[in-house]
Symmetry: C2
Subunit: 439 residues, 2 copies
């Protein structure tokens, strides 16, 4: 439901938030965690323009006087987890309070036009951290385009496995190697075995790839043994971020049978620093993926009219790459792909409900990633493996360099943004990582 916080008329007294094309207008208000230097205790913040609203400073300044005690405690916490546990009504009331505080007609601002000096900090001056303690990380495989592309490289006659259109396929990832945007990505070692090799050798990965994904941050969650019905699923999703599921394709090919990817994926996963709330995404909701007529309907526990009509999110996703040579020559990052999250075969609600359908407990701060977001068009493929068709069709960069997979020094930048006719556009900020040579 749209409310006053979504109004396109709203402007902020933080001038940078009103600039066209800004990722963080007052209609967005995504949550993150930061510190000014390594010795400072982490604190929570909300992005506005090129600034951050420091929530601890807001409490100190008394500019959020209407919050209930649990929200006050959550705002003063060092991770997002206590806020995540409170659920949608609390999230919404905090959003409303922040929207009021930051709007051009804010009573606080009108009483004290210098209030920004007390509660704002420039985004350029802080280090962003992973916003929450992530208990468990799950990675889905929800793009039928990605699954079909990858499948057709390995099984040309039978690209999509028979379970795909019934089961929102997912597997567990590694929480301990999730890092915030900007942290460098060390090329991992691993066992590699080419088709003509007698035996594997342990050496640096050669086929390093990125994967463009969307992450869901779990809210209250469920008790062990208690499923979450589809109708309630979105009450357990605080918001979304971008995820780069860095992948070592050669390690993956050799290790993944029969239990799935392991060391090919768990050396690092990068997430964007701002969690864009589901409430902020409300103007950009759309119908779920329209299944072709001969596809099976989802089983009952994954089906509802509301999900079908409103379960999708029209979130535009882009990948950029800058090689070391490009940076040296002052060339801007080049766009590799552009797609939309609306093309996912399964909605965020379906993924969450499926995950809890056996009683598996989801907890505040858990991260569920969507799997690589690829779309129907060739330029909407969300990883290099697909874009270069396993290296067969190399990409050319503006410097004349070519890429089959990532080289040392390459920076990968994921971006996400939402636009709709009667809404102010919002963005996710960047999710960045630069490849370092193997140790």
């Amino acid at each position: 439901m749209l409310n006053a916080t979504h109004s396109p008329q709203l402007q902020s007294w933080v001038e940078s938030a009103n600039q066209p094309g800004c990722d963080f207008p007052i209609q967005n208000l995504p949550f993150g965690r930061f510190r000014r230097d390594e010795h400072e205790q982490a604190r929570l913040g909300v992005a506005i323009g090129d600034q951050i609203v420091d929530l601890l400073a807001c409490l100190g300044a008394g500019v959020l006087p209407e919050l209930e005690p649990a929200l006050v405690a959550a705002c003063g916490s060092i991770t997002l987890n206590p806020l995540l546990a409170l659920g949608p009504a609390a999230w919404s009331s905090l959003r409303a309070a922040l929207s009021q505080l930051l709007s051009s007609d804010s009573a606080v601002y009108q009483r004290n036009p210098q209030i920004g000096k007390r509660i704002l900090v420039a985004q350029s001056e802080v280090q962003m951290l992973v916003p929450m303690e992530i208990g468990d990380y799950t990675d889905f495989y929800a793009s039928v385009y990605h699954a079909t592309n990858i499948g057709s490289m390995f099984r040309p006659d039978n690209p999509l496995l028979p379970n795909y259109k019934y089961v929102p396929i997912g597997y567990h990832g590694r929480a301990s190697s999730i890092v915030a945007s900007g942290q460098p990505v060390r090329r991992p070692h691993g066992q590699l075995k080419g088709p003509n090799d007698d035996q594997p050798t342990f050496q640096p990965c050669r086929l390093l790839d990125y994967e463009l994904e969307v992450g869901m941050v779990v809210g209250p969650g469920n008790q062990l043994g208690q499923p979450i019905p589809l109708a309630e699923a979105e009450q357990h999703i605080f918001g979304l971020c971008l995820v780069n599921d860095w992948s070592a394709r050669d390690i993956q090919a050799w290790e993944y049978q029969p239990l799935g990817p392991f060391l090919a994926k768990n050396f690092i996963t990068t997430i964007s620093p701002w969690i864009v709330t589901l409430e902020a995404l409300e103007p950009f909701r759309c119908a779920a993926f329209e299944r072709p007529a001969d596809d099976p309907a989802p089983l009952d526990y994954l089906a509802s009219a509301a999900n079908e009509q409103h379960g999708g999110i029209d979130l535009t996703l882009e990948v950029y790459l800058a090689s070391a040579q490009m940076r040296e020559q002052g060339i801007e990052p080049v766009r590799l792909s552009r797609g939309s999250f609306r093309h996912m075969y399964w909605t965020i609600a379906q993924m969450l409900t499926h995950h809890a359908s056996n009683g598996c407990p989801l907890q505040p701060g858990d991260l569920l990633a969507s799997g690589t977001v690829s779309g129907p068009d060739k330029d909407a493929r969300g990883c290099m493996m697909e874009l270069t068709w396993r290296g067969a069709e190399p990409l050319e960069l503006p410097t004349g360099e070519t890429r089959r997979f990532l080289e040392d020094g390459d920076e990968v930048i994921l971006r996400g943004s939402c636009s709709a006719p009667s809404a102010v556009s919002i963005g996710f900020g960047a999710c960045r990582g630069t490849v370092l040579p193997a140790l």
Copy 2:
């Protein structure tokens, strides 16, 4: 290295610890976490006979006066994690102090023969909890017998995949559904599809199974990007416990391709409440699995003479089952299998080193499970799937009941114990769970 804490001559003033067949003689001293009732804050304890040494009470009574401050803090903590982070030298000095405190010639006991009233609590009076906060849980597949048995059911011509003898195969499990022994096991719902079904249906699992595994509790661990050499691996393993990796075979069969098991496993995992330290296991170390002559040698990063000679653990593992009918008739649990952890294809050090070989950070409290422990003999098969050969050879219980898989009301009990000619035998305590009907 054996030291004074291993001496077979050692006896304890806690009489129950000196009984033959006791799991917890003074040579064991495993760590756990407990509370007397639901309102009490959890605390750490060490099993001795049928009692628990309450570490917080020991600090209060001043009976561990020689500990360094970090160890004092760790003993007073509400989880095992701070102790795990301290590493082997600290673990060893705490063990030595506890061994002295509890030995028959303890100076503390001789000064005050009533000291037990202050620092002991009966195991029968407490609730045991999962001892540590588990950041990430990994499950390996390290028994070549299990892998071959399972593989031959699905691929009779090619039971063992080509990577098996090179890669300690593992995958990520779910940390949030790990529970302590005794918690009931709700039969999960999931998508099932028989070979003759047109499409899957969502219903209670029919082919519920247990898996007998051994868990390794991670100590200090490594930083992101930094591998752990094989020679240092055991410095990062605090100790072992028993793990029941409950499995829904029918959900697994339909969901597991291509990314591995997910909802078939993450509805619950039970661990035994006591972590038996590697130091306590020292008298029971043995050679690693002897690879057949035509098996490849492990790659260099997984090979060392020390690992080959001393990397195994002769830990006897047993599974018992009691049906509801057996309990009603007063019939003791029946043993389903008996094997040894020494038959694992990969050692605990190899599993840990492989896991960190790509720089994946392991953290204090992480749990690495071995995968189902099956041995060369038919009665050493560690799950029902293998014992009944996928249901084809049902087991008969003393009541005349038969089992292809687990029925509601069945209690599964895992036990582990170590014996050696010149050592006092030690045990792991029981890992129990009873199946409840689906919701």
